[in-house]
């Protein structure tokens, strides 16, 4: 047993930590390792108002990530050995005035760059600018029908049409220029959105992105979003039917491992944070997005709008927080929200630390997006 998902070209429901054993071994020796992946946002603001938005629970002191701030940050990341940076969570990064330049600068520095977006502001002209520099671009689209899209994502119905057109444009540019970027769609599935699973999977057949991923919804430790994890049971048939709509060039993937986990954790320590940290759109550096809110100030490490990231990373404060999460004084089963970004890495490293699995480099060619563990 290796603890790894069997090799597939595109791992959407697993972890790629096994392909980074050099860093795992350095971590085991007690060395200070640079994160492999950083998940961040360029702003906390968003032009949508999705019903399930976890970022609504992550409010903290706002600061502005300017061009100088993000360029400094990217340079520091390249220097200390970060491999991949995704503008994904907390806010809609594409509406930041520094978005396109940040993508390009990161790419020029040798970093793998990725984006998760609602896709609205990505006009064809902007796509021409950013797609050549991206490893993946994922559009969050949690409904397959116009009116339900407007209802679930808190926007005007016509924005659904705009986003669909933008996805078509992405694929046209990708094919025209034979770009290596992966274009995906993502549905955050709440139990009450079951009616949209198959319409969205069929919409994907028409728009032809590389994949559609159907994932659970995370919730806070107090369940503030009210996600009913038992409610997913009734969706299994629809999820399987959606998967069956896959073809050679369009994959429908369900994050079964997280849905079936029902929001539970098998581990108490959080070992994953040093390998993949998160930054709020306010510039706040914290181990995890679930800890962005001021409520969790004890876990806040620094802010890239005030301090260079290389100095934050090298500070005792950074390692105090990381050590607290890895220590017996922290219990992820009791002190965290559900199914965090680091969940799969945590599962694997915890099993490795307990001697339940022996991490070895998986056989076969490395998967796509290897810098995003």
């Amino acid at each position: 047993m290796t603890g790894m998902t069997d090799h597939t070209q595109l791992i959407l429901d697993g972890t790629k930590i096994g392909w980074h054993l050099d860093r795992v071994h350095a971590w085991e020796r007690g060395e200070r390792i640079a994160p492999i992946t950083i998940d961040m946002a360029l702003t906390r603001a968003c032009n949508f108002a999705c019903e399930y938005c976890y970022a609504m629970l992550q409010e903290n002191d706002r600061k502005v990530i300017t061009r100088d701030v993000i360029f400094d940050f990217l340079e520091d990341c390249a220097e200390i050995g970060v491999k991949g940076i995704s503008f994904v969570s907390d806010g809609e990064s594409t509406i930041s005035p520094v978005f396109a330049d940040a993508i390009r600068r990161g790419s020029e520095l040798g970093l793998s760059m990725a984006v998760g977006t609602n896709g609205l502001a990505l006009t064809k002209m902007r796509l021409e600018e950013i797609l050549p520099h991206l490893t993946y671009l994922r559009v969050n689209i949690s409904a397959g029908e116009r009116d339900r899209y407007a209802q679930i994502m808190g926007v005007k119905p016509e924005w659904f049409d705009r986003v669909c057109q933008n996805i078509r444009d992405m694929m046209e540019i990708k094919r025209r220029d034979d770009l290596p970027v992966t274009v995906g769609m993502q549905m955050v599935v709440m139990p009450s959105y079951g009616d949209q699973i198959l319409p969205l999977a069929r919409l994907g057949q028409s728009l032809r992105p590389d994949y559609l991923v159907l994932k659970h919804c995370s919730d806070s430790e107090d369940g503030e979003l009210g996600v009913d994890y038992d409610g997913y049971d009734s969706l299994y048939d629809k999820l399987r039917a959606a998967e069956a709509l896959s073809d050679d060039e369009y994959k429908v993937v369900v994050k079964w491992s997280k849905i079936e986990a029902r929001g539970k954790r098998s581990y108490q320590r959080c070992y994953g944070a040093p390998f993949m940290i998160q930054l709020s759109g306010s510039g706040l550096v914290a181990p995890c997005g679930m800890l962005f809110n001021e409520r969790y100030k004890k876990f806040h490490i620094g802010n890239i709008c005030e301090t260079r990231f290389r100095d934050i990373w090298a500070s005792d404060r950074y390692w105090d927080v990381m050590n607290l999460l890895a220590s017996p004084e922290f219990n992820a089963q009791k002190m965290c929200g559900s199914l965090c970004l680091q969940h799969k890495v945590n599962e694997t490293l915890d099993a490795h630390a307990k001697g339940l699995v022996q991490l070895t480099t998986p056989r076969g060619a490395a998967p796509a997006h290897i810098d995003f563990v």
């Binding site: 007690g30 060395e31 390792i33 968003c46 006009t123 600018e129």
Partner: protein, 392 residues
């Protein structure tokens, strides 16, 4: 504000967009708004400005065209025009339709009619060059070396104290309903008496340990703990309990028993062997430990008033030690029995920052109960319209 001279050129001056106002509103909104954010003008819902005005204007015309607008008029104030070349602006605008640029006394009016998406052009707008060269590479800070065979200094004193008061050496015997386990590793033995019903370790003992203090403390820690949790987390608790000061870590990075000191290898091997033996003898098949010892009896026994008083005492002492005003830290609530929700005076918090909260939690744990947690009052966007903004 559009200057009067330019009003005369327009059929409907109210439809002229003031670029500088739009840009300023956008920047403010990025900080002030949380959800439902957008440019002030309805026709610019796809617009993303740029710090570079030329790029920003290009994005504006592109956004208007993509949104299906037919015509757009933009007034550029003197702050903006100072950094622009009129011919270049007109040239860019002309890519999106029939463009005109009218010079006023202080600003320009740029109108684009018959808007359409611009044909793609190979644009390589230079990203501002940076002076510093980047040296790529994985940066790690090596672990701190100790001399071969020596216990790391972080543990020496605690191990010595435990060695001086050994109470768990020897062998055990089991009573009815209990199971006796005895495992060996490199000549050392660990004996456990485990309750078959609850899987809890009742008694623990060792023999022939290379570091008696280590095994003594380990046996004391695992008594009363389920055997699965002892195998999964017992040695990590041992490491923490033997570390003289929490902040004095033996390695620069993440402390695990494995990275901390070789002295933890023996108890780790023994307890894992004991669990394997227990599984073999009983068929015990659980793999996930959810054990949480919870708070100790004194905290559990306290009334809410007594708890508040105990916390208050620690808070007051802490505040005084940090030169805060009396009452600078308030207990707002106690959640799920162990989570203390605190409100901190802004001045105290801005001086101490997150580290202060960290230290405050440690002070409460040390003084009252190690299971206590500290969180601050949650910050939410308090404007309901903003929080739940839905674009109409």
């Amino acid at each position: 504000m559009l200057e009067p001279a330019l009003h005369h050129t327009l059929v409907a001056p109210s439809e002229v967009l003031d670029y500088e106002q739009l840009y300023a509103d956008y920047q403010t909104g990025l900080v002030d708004r949380l959800r439902g954010f957008g440019a002030a003008a309805e026709c610019l819902s796809l617009w993303v400005p740029d710090e570079d005005p030329a790029t920003s204007l290009r994005n504006l015309w592109d956004a208007a065209a993509a949104a299906g607008e037919r015509d757009i008029a933009v007034y550029l104030g003197p702050t903006t025009t100072a950094s622009l070349d009129g011919d270049e602006v007109l040239g860019t605008a002309a890519r999106f339709g029939v463009a005109t640029l009218t010079h006023g006394r202080t600003g320009w009016l740029v109108e684009v009619q018959e808007l359409r998406a611009a044909a793609p052009v190979a644009e390589r707008r230079a990203v501002a060059p940076r002076a510093r060269a980047i040296v790529h590479g994985v940066t790690t800070t090596p672990a701190i070396e100790t001399s071969a065979g020596a216990i790391h200094p972080a543990y020496v004193d605690a191990i010595a104290r435990a060695t001086a008061d050994v109470q768990h050496d020897g062998v055990l015997s089991a009573d009815a309903g209990e199971l006796m386990l005895r495992v060996e590793d490199h000549g050392s033995t660990l004996s456990l008496v485990v309750d078959r019903e609850t899987h809890v370790i009742r008694r623990a003992a060792f023999t022939d340990a290379p570091h008696e203090g280590v095994m003594e403390r380990f046996c004391a820690l695992v008594e009363g703990v389920p055997i699965l949790d002892a195998a999964d987390h017992g040695v990590a608790r041992l490491e923490l309990s033997l570390r003289e000061h929490r902040a004095h870590r033996p390695v620069a990075g993440i402390v695990t028993p494995r990275s901390a000191d070789p002295c933890f290898a023996r108890p780790q091997a023994l307890i894992r062997a004991a669990l394997a033996d227990y599984r073999a003898q009983t068929g015990f098949a659980d793999w996930i430990s959810t054990h949480d010892a919870g708070p100790a009896a004194p905290w559990r026994a306290m009334s809410p008033a007594d708890r508040e008083a105990a916390v208050r005492t620690v808070l007051d002492t802490f505040v005084a030690a940090h030169d805060g005003r009396p009452g600078a830290v308030e207990l707002v609530a106690v959640e799920i029995d162990v989570r203390l929700v605190l409100r901190l005076d802004e001045a105290l918090l801005s001086d101490g920052g997150p580290r202060l909260v960290f230290e405050l939690e440690q002070a409460l744990r040390d003084a009252i109960d190690p299971r206590l947690e500290v969180v601050l009052e949650e910050i939410r966007d308090r404007n309901r319209k903003r929080r739940l903004a839905v674009v109409e």
